[in-house]
Amino acid sequence: MQAIINRILANKLADFKGLNIEGTIAVSEELLNMALTDFLNPKTTEIPIETPTNTATSFDAQELLKSVNIEQTRIELQPQKMNIHIKITK
């Protein structure tokens, strides 16, 4: 499958012309804090997880995002869902 994945990534998803993903992704407060920690300290140790050996190709999600049009994205704040408290010291 490696060759197929390479082809898909090399031609920037042209094989999926017409791709459409629409919906809502609800994100918990805890996840937002994890994401923030990850953003501020990208060297965070990976959490060991018991999964079958992953032989799939890893790819640069940022690069892939450049291949698509992100037309409408907005963030809704809901009670207990998204509160960002930040403290920066030096």
């Binding site: 791709l19 629409e22 919906g23 809502t24 994401a35 990850d38």
Partner: protein, 162 residues
């Protein structure tokens, strides 16, 4: 980012509860035939399996094997629009070109992830499309799946809800 994905998976995506996504994924015929070619390359008996035509829910498949009594067949089938969400799979009902004995022969030669039972060929999405641990975990949230044929591609519609 990888650590976050692992954490999400470890917590069975509880952090994303309340999410709903509709995915429309066009799959070009050329790409699908390339995938089939790769999948069957280790199956000695199957020399060629190629989808040559798709039209109005019907598919035509050119099959060539090394079996003396089954050198070449043109098989036609009907796409079953609804995707089984319990065992996510694309299903094609064979309508012509493959009798009882032929189905038995082809059934035995099929690679992992594909099975032919009675007249229905099942192609596992878990095996061929969602083959990473993360995407397999997401499949548990699949509520509705459909597949339709268009002029030059298949359109896979998936609705996921958590």
């Amino acid at each position: 980012m990888k650590a976050l994905l692992q954490q999400l998976q470890q917590r069975n995506f509880q952090d994303l509860k309340g999410s709903a996504l509709t995915i429309k994924l066009p799959i070009a015929l050329d790409l699908l035939n390339e995938v089939i070619r790769v999948v069957i390359k280790d199956v000695d008996v199957l020399q060629v399996v190629k989808i040559t035509d798709i039209n109005n829910g019907q598919v035509t498949i050119d099959v060539r094997t090394s079996i003396f009594t089954f050198k070449e067949r043109i098989i036609t089938g009907r796409i079953i629009r609804e995707i089984d969400v319990v065992k996510p799979a694309i299903q094609i009902e064979i309508t012509d070109g493959l009798g009882f004995a032929g189905r038995k022969l082809v059934g035995m030669a099929l690679p992992d992830g594909m099975e032919l039972e009675n007249k229905v060929l099942r192609i596992s999405l878990r095996h061929f499309l969602f083959d990473t641990p993360q995407s397999q975990a997401l499949l548990q949230f699949l509520k509705v799946g459909e597949l339709e044929t268009r002029a030059h591609d298949f359109l896979l519609r998936l609705y996921l809800e958590h």
